[in-house]
Amino acid sequence: MTVSPRAEAAIRQLKFRDPDMARALVRTIERVTKEIGRSPVSVMHVCGSHEQAISKFGLRATFPKDLNVIMGPGCPVCITDMPEVDEGVALARQGCVVASYGDMLRVRGTALSLNDAQAEGASVEVVYSATQAVELARAMPDREVVFFATGFETTAVATAAIVRGNLPRNFSILSAHKYIPPAMEIVAEMPETRVEGFLAAGHAATITGWGIFEPFVERHRIPVVVAGFEPLDILAGLARLVELVRDEKPTVVNMFPRCVTKEGNLRAQEELWSVFRPIGGRWRGIAHVPNGNLRLRDEWAHVDARRRFTIDLAALWDGVPPALAADCVCGDIMSGVSAPTDCKLFGRECVPDTPVGACMVSSEGACRIWHQYGGHPNLEAL
C-alpha cells in the first residue's frame, strides 16, 4: 500500500501524540522520582520550544510535585543583552536600516527598543530570515542595511550561510548570536538552581550532535538527555532523565535519534565556525558566559557592522528605563530561579500587548508562553 507524504506525516505525528503512552510515561516519571527519594528533584530544559510543548499540552499538571522542571535560558530574544539592543537602536538612529526578527523589535535596551527608534522615524524592518534581510539590502542599494542577527546556533547557521554567499556592499551584520552549551555550564554551577539533569534541545543538537555534551557531563557529573518536541518526546526524555538521576549515571542519552546523530551536521558546523568565533559576553539576566557569544571572524570584518560603523551609544544615555522595569524578574526566570508566576507584574501590568520584560515579548519567553496557555500551567499548584 502506498501512503501519501501528507498522510505519512500525520501518522508519524499521531505516533508521538498517543495519550495512553503518555499516561504510561507519566507513571514511570512518578515512580522513578519517588525512588530518588529527594524533594524537589530539579531538572532543566533550555529551549523555548520545549516550554511551548509542555505548556500547550498541559504536561506540567501531570509532573509529580517532587519533580521541578525548570525552563532555563532557552529564549534567544530574552537573553540578548541590553547593550546589544542599544547597538541596534544606535545604528538605526545613525541612519542605517536595521532589519531583525519581529520579536526583537519590542525588546528594550537600556532605555529604547527598536520599535521606539522606529516611532522616532528611524528605519527598522521585520524580516523572517537572514536571506530576506539580504533581499532587503538589494532592494535599497542607496541605504546601509544592517541585519541585527539573533538566535542560538540553529539560526546562526543560517546567518553563516548568507555570509559565505554573495552579499551586496550595503549589507552588514550586527551579530548577537548565542551558543547554548557554555550557558549550560554556567547554570550547572549556579548554587540557587541545583540542577540535577538537563533536557537538551533536539533541534540544536541536529547541528551540534549529541557528542558535544560529553565533555560537559564529564566535568559536571550531570546527565543530559537530548529530546524532541512532541509530547511523547518530552515525556520519554524526562523519564530517561530521572532514571539517570536515580541511578547516579552521568551520561548523555540521545532520545531524538530520528533527527540527531553523535557528530551532528558536520557541514553546518563547518560553515558556522568558519564564519563565527565564540567570545565571552553577558547574557541578559544570567551572567557573563565564557564563549557564549558568536562574533564574526576577522576574515568577515567587511560585513561586520561593529567594524564598519562607529556605533554611538552615548546618544542613548539620556534615556530613562521605565519605572516598572525595576520589578521585572526576567533575569531570575531565565536562570531558572523563579517562575513567571513569582513576578508581581505577570499577567497584570506585564502582558503581551504591553510587555515589561523580554520574557513576555518573545514567543519563546517563559512568561509569554505561560500567559498564552492560561497563565498558570501547573493547575495543581493553584
Partner: protein
Amino acid sequence: MSTLAVAARERITLRHGSGGRAMRALIEDVFLQRVEANASPEDVGPEAMDDGAALWIGDRWIVVTTDSHVVHPIFFPGGDIGRLSICGTVNDLAMMGATEVLGLTCGVILEEGFLREDLERIQASMAEACREAGTRIVTGDTKVMGKGEIDGIVLNTAGVAATGRVVRDRGLSVGDRIVVTGAVGDHGLAILAARHGLKLEGDLASDVAPINGLVRAALAAGGDGIVAMKDPTRGGLSSALHEMAQKSGVGIVLEEGAVPVHEPVRAAADLLGIDPLHVANEGKAVIGVRADAADAVLEALRAHPLGREAAIVARCIAERPGNVILDTGFGKRLLAEPEGELLPRIC
C-alpha cells in the same frame, strides 16, 4: 499631568473592536454609564451584555438585536458580507431562544465608486440567507459616502422576534454539559487565508449560516433542559466558554479531543501558530444542557443538516468558577481568554 488630561487624550484603537476584554471595558465605561433602568424585571437589557435584548410585553418577550458588518474581503470562501449580515442577526436572536424571526432591517452605507454588480450580488445573497432563515427584510436605509470616507460597504441589520422563553448565556450550573453544534474555526481561518493569500482557500470555507432552525430543533428536544446558549463568534469557542463560565459562576472543563475541527482548519491553524479554539465561527452555537437532556439534544442536533458534527465537549464544575480548564488528553491547563479576534474586520 492629571489623570483627567491623560484620559482626555485616550483614543479608540482596533483592540476596542476585537470582541475581547478591551471592547467589553469600553462598552461598560462608555455606553453603560447612563442607561435607563429596565422597564420590567423580566427584561434583559444592555447591562446583561447578552446576544440581544428581551423586552417583556405581558405574555411573552420581544427579542431585539442589531449587528454591523465590516468584513474584509467582502466576498470570501463560503459566503459574503450580505449572507453574514443576515446570519449574524438571526443567530443572535436564536441565542436568546427566539428562533421565529418576524423581520429584519437593513442599513447600508456605500462608498462612492462601489460596483453596482457587487451590490446586486450582495443583495441576492441576503435574500437567499433570509429564505434559509425563514424571514425577510422589512425596512431599510441607504447612504453613500465620498471616496475614501468609508471602505467599500458597511452593512447593519437589526432583527425582531417573539418568544415565550428566553434562554440566557448565564444559566449554567455544576454538572451541566456543553454541546457545540459543529466544527469550530472555519469562518475565521477562511477569512485569514483569503486575506493573506495563503492559497489554502480551496480547503477552507466559512461556516456562515442561519442556525435558528437548528436551535429550534434543539429547544424542541431539550425543553427546559437547555439552560444557556451563546454563539462563538469573535474570540471563538474559548471566548464564548469564558463568558458563560464567568456569568454563570461555574468552572468549565473542555475536552480538547472532543472538539470537532475540520482537518484543513487544523492544518492552517498549525501553520499560522493559532489555536482553532480562539477562531471565529458564524454558523455554530454553544449550548449548555442539563446532563439528563444532553443525549436528546445531541441527537436532535445531529439529525439537522447544520448539526451533523455536533458534539458534547465540556462539563461544568464547582471548582475554579469563571475559568476554562482544557484537558488536552495529555494533561490539563487553563485555557487563556482571548483578548479578542486575531485580526480586525472578521465579521
